[in-house]
Symmetry: C2
Subunit: 336 residues, 2 copies
């Protein structure tokens, strides 16, 4: 039975006393030091169990200068993509015995970003994962922090600390799908022009077109439904003979489809639409949206594997790019 409420938590000394060893032996047991006699180890472990001993992280951090804390700097954490990524990373980190402090930021507010970085510095994070397509934020984090900074969700221009889907390949696959269905004039609705994903997806789209000698038609939106809606409302589909759209996100596609619907244009009869993200809603929007799916679990695992390898000065694993999957649904069809 636990003693009075003023009892402080058991320390190594308490365990040591009960197990009839020195506190250092307890420390060795906790840290799996090799030269401990099995029976001593057992005795210590029993004492730890009996006292409900838990090592004090603050003391350990103070002594070893390793906080076991990782930071996440993420924007748009209420959206499916970032939220899933954060979730997956946090899970992988926890399994590896690390703690994660997440900071949600608006990457276009520099003061806020700096503030968040300061916050993370204070915790003494050992490494940081940046989940925002705003390239500036990554640069800022790398200059302000002296710990490894890994980035997710971007393409990997030779950055040794980066994981993410190959957005370009994914966009190419999506565009190829439309081309193979016979579409000749394919509109791409790009995301915000300063987002790395936007650029990569657009590049993939153009690469696909080029290999079939088709010409590109691009409109720029932001990631919102509204932006897709506006373009859907105003774009001259007939004049430009556009029969298919590759939207840079499902949200853009949703907005677009609503506008098309209001204009009396049917999906996929008049216009085929491909999205990007495979949001939970995608299968249920209209007749179902053809879209590209990312495997966030895998991204999380890789991010942690890579970052921890870096922290522990091991050789960095090299990954083959994560294959994007095209989810073909009813929003795309063969051209007559």
């Amino acid at each position: 039975m636990p003693a009075s409420k003023t009892t402080r938590a058991a320390s190594m000394f308490d365990v040591a006393e009960l197990a009839q060893v020195s506190h250092q032996t307890v420390s060795r047991v906790v840290n799996n030091h090799p030269s401990i006699r099995p029976e001593t180890k057992l005795r210590v472990e029993q004492a730890m169990a009996k006292l409900g001993y838990r090592p004090n992280l603050a003391a350990r951090a103070l002594k070893t200068k390793r906080s076991k804390m990782l930071g996440i700097l993420a924007s748009d954490t209420n959206l499916n993509g970032p939220a899933s990524t954060v979730q997956a990373i946090e899970k992988a980190a926890r399994e590896a015995g690390y703690f994660v402090v997440t900071c949600g930021i608006n990457p276009s507010a520099e003061a806020e970003v700096l503030n968040a970085i300061e916050h993370l510095k204070l915790v003494g994070i050992e490494g940081l994962i940046v989940i925002t397509p705003h390239a500036e934020t990554l640069k800022l984090a790398r200059t302000k922090l002296r710990v490894p900074v890994l980035t997710v969700d971007t393409d990997l221009h030779g950055d040794e600390l980066a994981v993410g889907m190959d957005n370009q390949a994914a966009a190419q696959t999506a565009t190829n799908h439309l081309i193979e269905l016979g579409h000749k004039n394919i509109l791409h609705i790009q995301g915000p022009a300063n987002w790395i994903e936007s650029i990569a997806r657009k590049a993939g789209y153009e690469k696909a077109l080029k290999s079939y000698k088709l010409s590109s038609i691009v409109e720029v939106a932001d990631w919102s439904l509204e932006a897709g809606y506006e373009i859907g409302k105003n774009f001259d589909f007939e004049g430009k003979k556009v029969t298919a759209v590759f939207a840079a996100s499902d949200h853009i596609a949703f907005g677009l489809i609503k506008a098309l619907d209001e204009r009396g244009m049917q999906v996929p009869k008049d216009i085929s639409v491909v999205g990007f993200d495979d949001l939970p809603e995608a299968a249920y929007f209209g007749k179902g949206l053809t879209t590209v799916r990312q495997d966030f679990e895998q991204i999380g695992e890789r991010a942690i594997a890579l970052l921890l390898a870096k922290l522990e000065l091991q050789e960095l694993p090299t990954f083959t790019p994560i294959e994007p999957t095209l989810q073909v649904r009813a929003s795309t069809r063969k051209v007559n």
Copy 2:
């Protein structure tokens, strides 16, 4: 210019030396102790700035036994609601100088929950916020942890540490909206029966019906689009003369609407539909979904205000319930 890379970060002693005071005076400046001469304070602050001094959280935690860490135990963090709540809480906590360690869990896997609680114990969190409608998880957290545990997203059955929208009132408002449009037979598609929100929303629905002497028709789903779709596909609307549906979530409503569409039933001409959540997609789904919106920012702020008051042994603030807002869109209309 920073010295060689082996230089350790500046400690209080370094600052003290530069400012010609004792380290304790530095500590006093850092902690805003009242009896420090303004000029001394200035001198110390200048030294801190010059050395880029940052207090060592681990050392402080070790000495004061206050980690400045809060935990979040949350399920379904990739969904809009929980993700927005986590985001808002984290922001409010950061502004209050606290750090947040988030643990995403599957609340029905008890081992995982226990594991996450153990993880948070190790960090030495001072308080926990539970964001999952699974009542068991809250109970478990409260028994396993000796720190204040606050719950979000539930109704507040006299729990002193709880914030959240009044789900019952919100559901009542939503149902009233349908009743006032002249609907007599209103189907409620409930969320999972063991979720507190489900129960509260159903209660609100029934309360509204009762005051108009209408009888209730309930189907149980989970939160998914699929579940809504299945019910939409199979429910006998004609036979039961149902002209309106109040769905316990937007996702359920989305699935439902798709099924109705496939059956050739039009929204809102044949069936009016109200959802719950106001997801970003809601305004763009079909002609726009009438739904209930939650103010997550406010929930986050209140959660932190309440928890910190508890931690700092202040009097707990009492809040008036957060008013839910009905977003009326094109999915509901007057009955002929």
